[in-house]
């Protein structure tokens, strides 16, 4: 049996199919994953993401510490509440985790890290923080609920504490607001507008029940995965891991190379890798033949192995199958070019496309 979030009883009451994920027992779906997916694209869905862990990092050394720890640069965060997506690398440039860091005020930051990596992240962060003026506080007292979809903010705001409603509705994308207990951010992992809400664990069930009463559709990890795949967002452990650098995972944009003197962990290895020339590209695929793309299937160009799918599946918004894939170095395919994917020994027609596949309810690739 895995860990249970403060909302486990709610999932059981709603008839969820429970599966192990990152050491936790989590809802996969509550009946139909496809209906949950479409509810988020068309209106609003809610997700229990309490398995993810918030880590508060504070102290006079916090900023300098995070500028060393993270491959993106927290010096870019000037306004309180602003969020930044970053990879945390090892010295070899491999991705230990991807995370969001919120700038909460001078000397105060909050990281939100993945469930499966939370314990080793904490150990790594504590080791790296030795000798620095930094306090690290895991917030296992908090639950986390994501409300996502075009109607999500409108439906969620009335269920927030009264003094948070207006500030939450006034948030620009990728900003958060709150106090030590409640924290609301206009962020997510679906490609839709919405909130991610951190709150005291003992208040999570009331918020959850209220949102369900208001017609927000409970969604499981299955819909979360197809939504993020359509949005072209990476999943840690699948699209990248300790043995993959951000350069091979389509995450170049999260690497802050300037200023050149900022010596973040993994920088030297990444620079050497870049200098060695052309790491394989990270691309999107649309299946044009019959079947379903899945992780670990081989991409073929003129019958030869040209790459590997890292995430694949059926995209309910497109009613087609899509994938994220890593091409081998030197494969000269451009967006729109045909290729094939080895589906159970059968070369099946596909086409290179540029993710995201879907954003804000709109299909962003050419399906014809």
């Amino acid at each position: 049996m895995g860990h249970r979030t403060p909302l486990f009883a709610e999932h059981q009451r709603l008839g969820a199919r429970i599966v192990p994920f990152g050491g936790w027992d989590m809802p996969l779906h509550y009946g139909s994953q496809i209906e949950e997916h479409l509810a988020v694209r068309n209106r609003a869905g809610l997700f229990d993401v309490s398995h993810m862990r918030a880590l508060d990092i504070s102290g006079t050394g916090a900023r300098d510490f995070l500028r060393r720890l993270l491959a993106n640069d927290v010096a870019r965060l000037r306004e309180p509440g602003k969020a930044l997506y970053s990879c945390m690398l090892n010295e070899a440039g491999g991705v230990l985790d991807d995370l969001i860091v919120y700038f909460r005020g001078p000397e105060r930051y909050r990281l939100v890290v993945n469930a499966g990596t939370a314990d080793q992240d904490l150990a790594w962060i504590e080791t790296q923080a030795q000798g620095r003026e930094v306090a690290i506080r895991p917030r296992t007292d908090l639950a986390m609920i994501a409300v996502q979809g075009p109607e999500a903010r409108r439906l969620a705001a009335p269920r927030l504490p009264p003094d948070l409603r207006e500030p939450a509705l006034a948030l620009a994308p990728f900003f958060g607001v709150g106090d030590e207990d409640w924290f609301v951010a206009r962020t997510g992992y679906t490609g839709e507008d919405g909130f991610e809400i951190l709150l005291p664990a003992d208040q999570a069930a009331v918020l959850w029940q209220g949102l369900v009463t208001d017609g927000v559709v409970p969604c499981g990890l299955g819909a979360r995965d197809t939504l993020r795949l359509e949005a072209g967002m990476n999943l840690y452990g699948q699209d990248m891991d300790e043995d993959t650098s951000p350069l091979e995972a389509g995450l170049d944009w999260t690497l802050a190379w300037e200023p050149a003197e900022r010596d973040f962990i993994g920088r030297a290895a990444l620079e050497a890798r870049r200098a060695a020339g052309g790491p394989g590209r990270f691309v999107g695929l649309l299946l044009t033949g019959r079947g379903v793309l899945r992780a670990h299937q081989r991409v073929l160009v003129e019958g030869r192995a040209a790459g590997i799918i890292t995430s694949g599946g059926y995209a309910p918004s497109l009613q087609r199958s899509i994938a994220l894939a890593r091409l081998a170095p030197g494969i000269a395919l451009a967006s729109g070019d045909p290729c094939e994917v080895d589906i159970r020994g059968k070369p099946t027609a596909a086409r290179l496309v540029q993710p995201p596949f879907v954003r804000h309810g709109t299909i962003r690739i050419d399906l014809d």
Binding site: Q33, R290, V292, R294, Y314
Partner: protein, 129 residues
């Protein structure tokens, strides 16, 4: 609780077979199987005329989660397939024992049908899972 119709026979791999009384059997996957797989999004059926051995993987159903082989309950020859599943794989979720049938076959040995799991044995198997 998933449905286990009394007129059918079953396999340990969660296929069902119906004796059509005309020398053919219809094959599909059980209610339990469709529920465990989740929303189905793709079905690959065998070619009519194909000879299959007992337990041979001869069709594939893919759900939002994963691909699963469908094994022939008996040895025989495939005579007909449910072409409607190509555009509507969700029929297996909606009506696993009816519109969601997958293929028909003429068994090599008609008496082998009686050797499949009866409804009580299949229901007991589900209880053990």
């Amino acid at each position: 609780m998933s449905q286990v119709p009394s007129e059918l026979r079953y396999t340990q791999d969660h296929e069902w077979a119906r004796d059509n009384g005309d020398g053919t059997l219809t094959v599909g996957i059980t209610d339990h199987a469709q529920e465990a797989l989740g929303d189905l999004v793709f079905v690959e059926v065998p070619e009519p005329g194909r000879e299959v051995a007992v337990g041979e993987a001869c069709a594939v159903v893919e759900s939002v989660k994963a691909a699963s082989d469908i094994f022939s309950p008996l040895a025989g020859t495939v005579t007909e397939v449910n072409a409607a599943l190509a555009d509507a794989p969700e029929r297996i979720n909606e009506d696993p024992y009816g519109e969601g049938w997958i293929f028909k076959l003429v068994p090599a040995d008609a008496s082998a049908f009686a050797g499949l799991l009866d409804p009580d044995a299949y229901a007991a198997l589900l209880d053990d899972e």
